[in-house]
C-alpha cells in the first residue's frame, strides 16, 4: 500500500529518532523498524537518510553510540540518548505539537469554508 505510506518531512526524522531512543537504546535497523511499527506502518524511514541523521545527532552530542550485542547475537552499534538529547527531545516535541496544531487548524478552517 504505497499510497498509504508518507515520506517524512524534513527535520521530523530527528525527533522520531530521539523519541525512539528515549524508550531504550537501539541500533540503526531497530530504530527504523520501531518508527515504522509505532506509526502503524504509515511512516517509513528511508534507509539512506537514517544513518547520516544518526551521525548528525551524534555530532550534536544528542545521542551516543556504543557497540553492543543484538537480539540475534551479532555485534551491533547501539545508540542511546544523552542528557542534552533528552532536553532536545522535549523542545522538539513541543515544537512539533505547535506546528501540527497550527497546520491542522489551517486545514480545518479550509474544511469549514
Amino acid at each position: 500500500m504505497p499510497d498509504q505510506q508518507t515520506d517524512l518531512l524534513q527535520g521530523t526524522l530527528d525527533v522520531l529518532i530521539l523519541k525512539t531512543l528515549a524508550l531504550e537504546p537501539m541500533h540503526g535497523w531497530g530504530i527504523s523498524q520501531r518508527i515504522q511499527q509505532m506509526s502503524s506502518d504509515v511512516l517509513k524511514v528511508q534507509q539512506g537518510s537514517l544513518y547520516p541523521a544518526l551521525y548528525r545527532l551524534e555530532q550534536r552530542n544528542w545521542i551516543k553510540p556504543y557497540w553492543g550485542i543484538s537480539e540475534n547475537n551479532r555485534r551491533a552499534r547501539y545508540y542511546e540518548l544523552t542528557r542534552t538529547g533528552r532536553k532536545q527531545l522535549e523542545v522538539e516535541t513541543s515544537n512539533w505539537e505547535r506546528l501540527a496544531s497550527a497546520v491542522s487548524q489551517v486545514l480545518q478552517a479550509d474544511k469549514a469554508i
Binding site: G28, Q47, Y51, Y55, N61
Partner: protein
C-alpha cells in the same frame, strides 16, 4: 564548532581507518537484518537483496553523507593542501619564480636577523636577565670641569656605598676593562682584563666549564687574591686550549696571577660591545692599576649593573638609590674646600636605570641602525611578495570561471578563499624553509665581514630557535600578504556575475588597475632602497677619500707599552727614544715619529682650554702629544709657524679648527693658551691642518698638540721607502730586540689599520648594495609581468592595429611609463622623509643629497624601462593573422 564536535572530528581523522570499518560494519549489519526480515516475508534471497539495495540507494553516497554529517573541516584542509600542491605542480614556472623570490626575500631577512640578533638583540645567557639594569649618571665628576658620559660614571667608594645600602637591588656589580700585558710561556701580549666585583659570577648565575670562579670573599682585601678566570675564546685562541692551564700562573702587568677557571662558551659578561680575555677581582686593580685605586673618590671609572629584587618596581629602586646617592654626592661635594663652579651640577646628578637584559649597549644608535637595516630588507621581501600577489591575481583571474562553477555547485565563498589561501601558505612555507636554509649557510660567512676572529668565536654559527620563530612569523605574514587580496578578489560574490561576464574585459580592467597599483608600490620601494644605498655608498666613498689630514700611503704603525711591564714612565720614555732611533736607522726607513694616542684608536683626552685673545675665551679640545717631525712623517700640512723640531721644544701646536674657534680672524701664532685650572700659559708656535686622529667619522674639532715627553703607550708611525712584507717583519725584529718582553700591538700599514676600523661599515655597505640589486631585479620582474599581461589582454586590439599599420610600441610604453613616473615620485617623496632618519649616518653630503636621490631615480627608471621594453617589443612582432585566429 563546539569542543565536542571538534573532538569527534579529530577522532575521526586520527582513527580514520577504524572509523571507516565501523561504518561499514554498521551498514552491513543493517542490510543483513533487513534481508532476513524480507526473507521472512517469503521473498527469494535474490529478490530480498535487490530490494535492500534499492531501499538504500547508493551505499557510497550514504557513507559520504555520514562522513559529512561528522564534519569535514580537518579533512578538507588536508584536501586543500593536496589540491594546492597539485595546482602548484601544474603551474611550474609560476611556482619556481615565486619560490625563488620568497627564498631570497625570506633568506636575506632571516640572515640579517640572525646577525643582528646575535650582535644586539639576544638576551644574555644568564640567570634572570630581564631583571638586570645598568646604572648611568651623567654629570660632572668630583672636582671635574666637564660632563661625563655614562660609560664610566662611578668611583669605587660610590659603588661600595650603593651596594651596601640598597635594599631594592638584589646585587649590584661593578666592572672596569683595562688593557694589560700578559706574559705566558715566554710571550708577552696585550690582553683585555675585566676587573669585576666579587659577586659578578654569582650575580649572573653562570658556571665555569673548568675550575671555579672567584667569590666575593676574594674581592675584599686589595691585592690579596691574585686569581684570574679565562674566557672560553681566550682560552682556546690565546692559551692553546689546554685544560691544564687551570692552576698555572701567568704574569699580568708583571704580577703573578693564578688561573682558577674557564668560563662557558656562550658567556660574554654583561657588556655587549666589549669582550674580555680574562676576568679578575676588582680588588686586584689596586696592585695592577697605576693611577687610581679603590679608595680614589675623584675618578669615576666603574660601570655598574644590578639585579632588581623580585616584586620591586623600577621606580621604587630608582627612588631608593637616588636617596642614597644624594647623601654620597653631598658628602663628596663638601670634601672640596675651594669654590667649585660645577658644584650645583654635581649635586643634581641622578642615577638612571636602563634595562640590561641583553647586556649593556652604550651606543643607542645601533638599535636604530639595526632596525633601519631590517626595514630595508623588509622592503626587498615586500617587493618579492608584491610580485607574487600580482601573479596570483592573474592566475586566479584566469580560472575565475572555474571558481564561479564551483560556487554554482555549492562551494561556499569562505571555502574558496580558504583553499586559495592554502596555496599561498604552501608557497610561503616552501620559501620559509629555503630561506631558513639560506640563512643557515650564509650568516656565518657574512658575520665574518663584521667581526674579528675572536668575537666570531662566540657565534654559534647557525640560526637557532629564535631565528626559526622569526622565520615562521615572516612566512605567515607573507602568506597573508600574498594570498589575502587575491583570494578575496577571486572568490565570486554571486554565481551569475562571473559566469556571465566576459572575464577578458571588465574583470581584466579592474585587475589591471589593481596590479598597476602594486607595481607602483614596487617601484616606490625600489627607489627608497636604491636611494639609501646610493647615500651609503657616497658616504663610504667620502669617508675613505676625503682629506683625513694625513697621508696614509707608505706608513707602517705599531704601538708598545713598556709601563705595563714595570718600566717607570721616564725609563719607558728612554726606551721609546732608543726604539725610535734604531728604527730610523733600519734599511728602507725614511723617518719615524710617535704619539701617545694612536690614530683612529678612539682615544683622545678632552679637556677645557682658555685662550688669551684680549679677553679670555674657553672651550674644549682634544690633546695629543707628538714627537718632533710627527707632522712631516704623516704629511700633515703646517698652516703657520713650525712643528716641534727638538725633543726639548716648548710651546704647543693647535689645529685649524682650534685657531678659528678661539682666535677667529686674529693670528694664533704667538698667542697663549692654558688648560682650565692650570697656571701655566703656553705659547702657540704653529697651526696645523685638521686631521682625523680620533675617529674616521669625526667632524673637525679643536686639537692641541703638546711636545711628546713621557707616556704609557707609544704609537709609532714609520715612513718607509716602499711597501713590502719584509720591511714589516724586519721592523718587528728590531722592536723585539730593543724592547724585549714588552707587549706590541698592531704591526700593520696605516691603510690596513684604517680598513680594519671601517670593517663593519664597509660590510654594511656591501650588504646594502646586494639588497639594492636584488630589489631592482625583483622590481624589474614586476614591471615585466604587468607589461606582458597588458599585451596579452589587448592582443586582439593590438593585432588589428598592427594590421591597419599603426605603431603600437609607444602606446604600450605609455601605460608603463605612467606607472614608472608615479612610482618614482612616490618613492622619491618617501626617500626624502627617510633620509631625515638616517642623517646621522650620512657623511660629507646632505642627508637629502640630490645626487644620490637622482641617481637612485635614474637607476630605477632605467631598470624599469628595460623590463618594459622586452614584452612591448615582442608585441610589435605579433602576426596579426595568427593572433586574431587564436581569439
Amino acid at each position: 564548532m563546539t569542543l565536542h564536535s571538534a573532538w569527534l572530528r579529530i577522532c575521526w581523522l586520527l582513527r580514520r581507518n577504524s572509523r571507516e570499518r565501523e561504518l561499514d560494519e554498521e551498514l552491513l549489519f543493517h542490510m543483513e537484518q533487513q534481508t532476513e526480515a524480507l526473507l521472512r516475508t517469503g521473498l527469494t534471497p535474490e529478490e530480498a537483496a535487490r530490494q535492500v539495495r534499492l531501499e538504500f540507494g547508493g551505499l557510497d553516497k550514504v557513507k559520504e553523507e555520514c562522513r559529512d554529517a561528522h564534519g569535514t573541516f580537518l579533512e578538507s584542509i588536508w584536501s586543500d593542501i593536496r589540491y594546492g600542491l597539485r595546482t602548484l605542480r601544474k603551474t611550474r614556472v609560476f611556482t619556481l619564480t615565486a619560490l625563488l623570490s620568497l627564498t631570497l626575500g625570506i633568506g636575506i631577512n632571516t640572515t640579517l636577523f640572525t646577525i643582528l640578533d646575535y650582535l644586539l638583540w639576544r638576551p644574555l645567557a644568564v640567570r634572570d636577565a630581564d631583571r638586570l639594569y645598568a646604572f648611568r649618571s651623567p654629570g660632572p665628576n668630583l672636582g671635574g670641569v666637564m660632563g661625563t658620559d655614562w660609560t664610566m660614571a662611578f668611583s669605587y667608594p660610590v659603588y661600595h656605598e650603593l651596594q651596601e645600602h640598597s635594599t631594592t637591588m638584589e646585587w649590584i656589580m661593578a666592572r672596569f676593562m683595562a688593557r694589560t700585558s700578559v706574559a705566558w710561556h715566554g710571550r708577552t701580549e696585550y690582553m683585555g682584563v675585566e676587573f669585576t666585583s666579587g659577586n659578578f659570577f654569582d650575580l649572573l648565575g653562570v658556571t665555569p666549564i673548568s675550575g671555579r670562579f672567584f667569590t666575593a670573599g676574594e674581592d675584599r682585601d686589595p691585592g690579596a687574591h691574585p686569581v684570574a678566570v679565562l674566557s672560553h675564546a681566550a682560552w682556546l685562541l690565546k692559551f692553546g686550549g689546554d685544560p691544564s692551564i687551570v692552576g698555572q700562573t701567568i704574569n699580568i702587568n708583571r704580577v703573578p696571577v693564578t688561573i682558577i677557571g674557564i668560563s662557558g662558551k656562550s658567556f660574554i659578561g654583561a657588556m655587549r660591545q666589549e669582550t674580555a680575555d680574562i676576568r679578575m677581582p676588582l680588588a686586584m686593580y689596586d696592585v695592577l692599576g697605576k693611577y687610581w685605586n679603590l679608595r680614589t673618590h675623584d675618578f669615576a671609572w666603574l660601570n655598574m649593573v644590578g639585579r632588581l629584587k623580585p616584586g620591586v618596581s623600577l621606580q621604587q629602586a630608582g627612588t631608593e638609590l637616588n636617596l642614597i646617592y644624594r647623601n654620597i654626592l653631598k658628602a663628596e661635594a663638601d670634601s672640596i674646600s675651594h669654590t667649585w663652579p660645577m658644584r650645583e651640577q654635581f649635586l643634581a646628578r641622578q642615577i638612571e636605570l636602563a634595562p640590561a637584559n641583553r647586556g649593556v649597549i652604550w651606543d643607542a644608535d645601533l638599535d636604530i641602525a639595526g632596525l633601519a637595516m631590517m626595514g630595508l630588507v623588509g622592503c626587498v621581501l615586500l617587493i618579492a611578495c608584491t610580485n607574487i600577489t600580482g601573479l596570483l591575481l592573474a592566475r586566479n583571474l584566469a580560472c575565475s570561471r572555474e571558481l564561479a562553477v564551483r560556487v554554482a555547485v555549492g562551494a561556499g565563498r569562505f571555502r574558496i578563499i580558504r583553499q586559495l589561501l592554502t596555496e599561498s601558505l604552501l608557497l610561503s612555507i616552501g620559501g620559509g624553509l629555503c630561506g631558513f636554509f639560506t640563512a643557515y649557510v650564509s650568516s656565518p660567512a657574512l658575520l665574518k665581514l663584521f667581526l674579528s676572529a675572536e668575537d666570531l668565536y662566540n657565534f654559534p654559527g647557525k640560526p637557532d630557535l629564535r631565528v626559526g620563530l622569526f622565520t615562521i612569523g615572516v612566512s605567515l605574514a607573507v602568506t597573508l600578504f600574498i594570498g589575502l587580496v587575491p583570494s578575496l578578489r577571486a572568490a565570486p560574490d554571486s554565481v551569475q556575475t562571473d559566469l556571465r561576464s566576459d572575464t577578458t574585459t571588465t574583470a581584466g580592467a579592474s585587475h589591471l588597475r589593481f596590479r598597476s597599483a602594486l607595481v607602483i608600490v614596487e617601484i616606490a620601494l625600489a627607489v627608497c632602497l636604491t636611494a639609501v644605498t646610493w647615500l651609503a655608498a657616497r658616504t663610504l666613498h667620502n669617508l675613505r677619500n676625503t682629506d683625513m689630514g694625513f697621508r696614509e700611503e707608505g706608513i707602517v704603525t705599531f704601538a708598545v707599552n713598556a709601563t705595563l711591564e714595570g718600566y717607570p714612565r721616564e725609563k719607558a720614555a728612554i726606551l721609546y727614544e732608543n726604539l725610535k732611533r734604531e728604527i730610523s736607522n733600519a734599511p728602507d726607513v725614511r723617518s719615524v715619529a710617535m704619539t701617545d694616542l694612536g690614530i683612529m684608536d678612539h682615544s683622545g683626552n678632552q679637556t677645557a682650554f682658555e685662550a688669551q685673545n684680549g679677553q679670555i675665551q674657553t672651550g674644549e679640545a682634544k690633546m695629543y702629544h707628538v714627537s718632533p717631525g710627527y707632522f712631516r712623517v704623516l704629511g700633515t700640512s703646517i698652516l703657520a709657524g713650525h712643528e716641534f723640531e727638538h725633543p726639548r721644544d716648548s710651546g704647543v701646536l693647535v689645529n685649524r679648527t682650534f685657531a678659528r674657534r678661539f682666535f677667529g680672524n686674529r693670528t694664533a701664532i704667538g698667542s697663549h693658551i692654558r688648560s682650565t685650572g692650570s697656571r701655566n700659559w703656553m705659547e702657540i708656535i704653529g697651526v696645523v691642518a685638521d686631521e682625523k686622529h680620533y675617529h674616521y667619522r669625526e667632524n673637525p674639532m679643536p686639537y692641541v698638540h703638546f711636545p711628546y715627553q713621557v707616556s704609557d703607550e707609544a704609537c709609532f708611525y714609520i715612513k718607509i721607502a716602499e711597501n713590502s712584507p719584509v720591511i714589516l717583519s724586519n721592523l718587528r725584529v728590531v722592536t723585539e730586540r730593543i724592547a724585549p718582553g714588552v707587549p706590541i700591538r698592531g704591526f700593520a700599514t696605516l691603510t690596513q689599520h684604517i680598513d680594519e676600523e671601517m670593517k663593519a661599515e664597509t660590510a654594511m655597505n656591501s650588504m646594502l648594495a646586494a639588497f639594492c640589486v636584488l630589489a631592482a631585479l625583483l622590481m624589474a620582474v614586476g614591471v615585466y609581468g604587468i607589461t606582458s599581461y597588458n599585451v596579452a589582454r589587448r592582443i586582439r586590439e593590438l593585432a588589428i592595429r598592427i594590421a591597419l599599420g599603426a605603431r603600437i610600441l609607444t602606446s604600450l610604453l605609455k601605460h608603463t611609463a605612467l606607472l614608472i613616473v608615479l612610482g618614482t615620485c612616490a618613492g622619491l617623496a618617501v626617500s626624502v622623509v627617510l633620509t631625515y632618519f638616517i642623517r646621522s649616518y650620512v657623511y660629507g653630503i646632505d642627508a637629502a643629497d640630490p645626487l644620490s636621490l637622482s641617481a637612485a631615480c635614474l637607476t630605477v627608471i632605467v631598470t624599469a624601462i628595460a623590463a618594459t621594453f622586452l614584452p612591448a617589443w615582442r608585441a610589435t612582432r605579433i602576426d596579426p593573422m595568427q593572433a586574431l585566429r587564436l581569439e
